[in-house]
């Protein structure tokens, strides 16, 4: 009963503080207030500071001509185009190196991960050493090292070695390969290619149906390969190879024609993908190991051979474990591509967040744009991941 007395004699405030709900509300209001206070404070400071030096906050500079050139552009661009277009060029360059990095990193990472698990002692040791060497060195160093090697040890264009009878050149100006220039009749090959894809899908469906009905197993992989690669190739030959190639050729200072992978792109691409592949290899290894050996044994005991065991039992389970950390590696790679600035690859940080920022003095605006772009990349990737996780979640009690 003493407790009841105490209750009454307490002040309203301490009563509120002792009420579970009231306390949580007070705590939350405090947090929010502190936070708002903080933001208000720094934004006010920024406004005052900008005012003293007479700047505002506006994005109109985006429509002014950029006046600088960019050496690698996926869309048409020249120095008279606007800062906005320069930003787009930067975004595309970021995406280009990120996507190609992701593809290469995934391939190399999976191969390394599987080799790491191989029963071959020597191979798994070599891969182990490689992985440890690569992932314990900062990615920026990888970029600089590879760039340094490309620029300092590869020959200048005049002495560059050629491969495939003078159609591929490797120099410190980059890797030049012939670029295709399709002739009118080339559409037939394209149609064959897409036809091949459609055919493969249809064939796969049919194979599945056939298997369901009669049990016969059709060689989907081989036929698919034939349809997608073989068929277009045959059509290409039959239509008389309707394709011209623009071969790189040394003219004046540089190679002209073909397509080039600039050393900056090359270094960034290789460094990002090799670095990330070491992490992916470990993820793949962990993913495969996470499927208990009992699963393999059970599949073997049922008479499934090794490749079928992998296809039907191990890989589907391993993927569940692999994909979430894999996506976060993809995100890391994308973010690390911002280090392009160290070697002069013109990505988003180097264009809008670099030259444009510097030429116009619009730090706030430019950095806002850069941050928003990276945030939307990661938003998209994590949305995908949530969707995937939901889709593959193992059903349990």
């Amino acid at each position: 009963m003493a407790a009841a007395d105490i209750v009454d004699s307490r002040s309203a405030l301490s009563r509120a503080w002792n009420n579970k709900e009231a306390r949580s509300v007070i705590l939350q209001i405090l947090t929010v207030a502190l936070l708002f206070g903080f933001f208000f404070y720094i934004i006010r400071n920024a406004v005052i500071n900008l005012e003293t030096i007479g700047k505002g906050y506006s994005f109109t500079f985006l429509s002014a001509p950029a006046s600088y050139d960019i050496n690698q552009t996926l869309i048409d661009y020249n120095s008279r185009d606007t800062h906005f277009r320069a930003a787009i060029v930067g975004i595309l360059n970021t995406l280009l190196v990120a996507v190609s990095g992701i593809i290469l990193a995934t391939i190399v990472g999976f191969v390394l991960g599987v080799l790491r698990l191989s029963k071959n002692w020597l191979m798994s040791r070599i891969v182990y050493c490689y992985i440890e060497l690569v992932r314990n060195v900062p990615v920026l160093l990888h970029i600089l090292l590879i760039h340094g090697i490309v620029v300092n040890t590869l020959p200048v264009p005049r002495q560059s070695p050629s491969f495939f009878s003078e159609s591929v050149f490797l120099s410190n100006r980059g890797l030049y390969v012939p670029s295709p220039l399709p002739e009118p009749l080339f559409w037939a090959t394209m149609i064959a290619f897409f036809g091949g894809i459609v055919g493969t899908v249809l064939y796969k469906r049919r194979a599945r149906k056939l298997q369901e009905e009669t049990g016969r197993i059709l060689p989907v992989f081989r036929v698919g390969l034939g349809l997608i690669i073989g068929l277009p190739f045959v059509v290409f030959l039959v239509t008389g190879m309707p394709m011209n190639w623009s071969y790189p050729e040394l003219k004046g200072f540089n190679f002209v024609g073909g397509v080039a992978m600039k050393p900056e792109f090359l270094a960034l691409w290789l460094a990002l993908s090799l670095y990330t592949s070491a992490f992916i290899a470990e993820i793949v290894r962990a993913g495969i190991l996470a499927v208990s050996y009992g699963q393999t044994e059970a599949a073997h005991a049922l008479g499934l051979r090794t490749n079928r065991t992998l296809q039907l039992v191990i890989i589907p389970q391993a993927l569940r474990v692999i994909v979430p950390p894999l996506t976060s590696q993809y995100l890391n790679l994308t973010k690390n591509s911002s280090l392009a600035i160290a070697i002069g690859y013109m990505d988003i940080v180097a264009t809008i967040g670099g030259i444009s920022l510097n030429q116009t003095g619009r730090e706030m605006e430019s950095m806002t744009i850069v941050l928003l772009i990276y945030l939307s990349f990661s938003l998209v990737i994590s949305l995908f991941m949530n969707w995937y996780n939901k889709r593959i979640k193992l059903v349990e009690r």
Partner: protein
């Protein structure tokens, strides 16, 4: 006692040899796990293998379907010699079903898909047919209603029954069981044993590592006692329990029956 007698007569044992192991040795590194194993199993026989932990029981039955490799001696299953030849291994694995202690169901597939996977991909059965067969076996282990669920949604006893059904779907001549009930809660043991007894009655050749002595008494027509990688004793169940030949067997029995 009388019950057991009845069961035994019910089951037929042919003269045909199902498994023949002669002078088989196996090492793990330098460790000699299996020493000079000789065993002949005829079709329809139900053999229970027991022995202390680490005595090599699991290793022995896993050698029979080549989950482990033996290094010396020979193993013949249904007349086929086990060697490195993949064809032979395939043939033998199609003959022999196996049920594991920890079920090893495929968690990403439904119960039905677990059961039809091997028939479809190994036996190349049409899906419809495989499913029908699977449903038959699921009925036999009394869980046809769980067919669409995932293993994670089932109790341990149900999972082990699915594992048995999955093996049966391949129509094996021989079934190997490696302590099928030891990972189960006590309430669930009997439901699994019931299914196994049922299977035994149907004349299936069975090798079963288990410590369920009641089961051994009921269905086994031979009990094998292993220790230190050797077969120490081979005996009729009745004899084995009441009048074991070797001292080690006696010691073992006293421990496990006491418990």
């Amino acid at each position: 006692m009388s019950e057991q007698a009845i069961e035994t007569t019910e089951m037929q044992i042919s003269d045909e040899v199902a498994i023949e192991i002669t002078g088989m040795h196996k090492w793990y590194g330098d460790f000699h796990v299996l020493k000079n194993i000789n065993l002949q199993v005829r079709r329809g026989e139900r053999i229970v293998i027991c022995g202390p932990s680490g005595s090599g029981k699991s290793t022995m039955i896993r050698c029979i379907n080549r989950l482990e490799e033996h290094q010396q001696g020979s193993i013949q299953v249904g007349g086929i010699e086990l060697s490195n030849d993949l064809k032979n291994i395939d043939a033998i694995r199609r003959e022999v079903g196996m049920v594991f202690q920890h079920f090893n169901l495929f968690p990403h597939l439904t119960v039905l898909e677990n059961c039809t996977l091997a028939p479809i991909w190994v036996r190349k059965m049409p899906k419809r047919e495989a499913e029908e067969a699977a449903m038959k076996y699921l009925e036999r282990v009394k869980i046809p209603d769980q067919a669409k669920k995932y293993p994670g949604q089932l109790s341990g006893g149900q999972q082990q029954r699915v594992a048995i059904a999955r093996s049966l779907c391949m129509n094996p001549e021989i079934m190997l069981f490696d302590e099928p009930t030891s990972a189960l809660d006590p309430e669930m043991i009997s439901e699994v044993l019931d299914v196994m007894i049922d299977l035994a009655k149907s004349g299936m050749t069975m090798l079963c590592v288990t410590h369920e002595m009641g089961f051994a008494r009921k269905v086994a027509n031979r009990v094998i006692f292993m220790d230190g990688g050797e077969i120490i004793e081979e005996n009729e169940p009745e004899q084995f329990f009441t009048n074991p030949k070797s001292d080690r067997t006696k010691l073992f029995l006293s421990q496990i029956l006491h418990h």
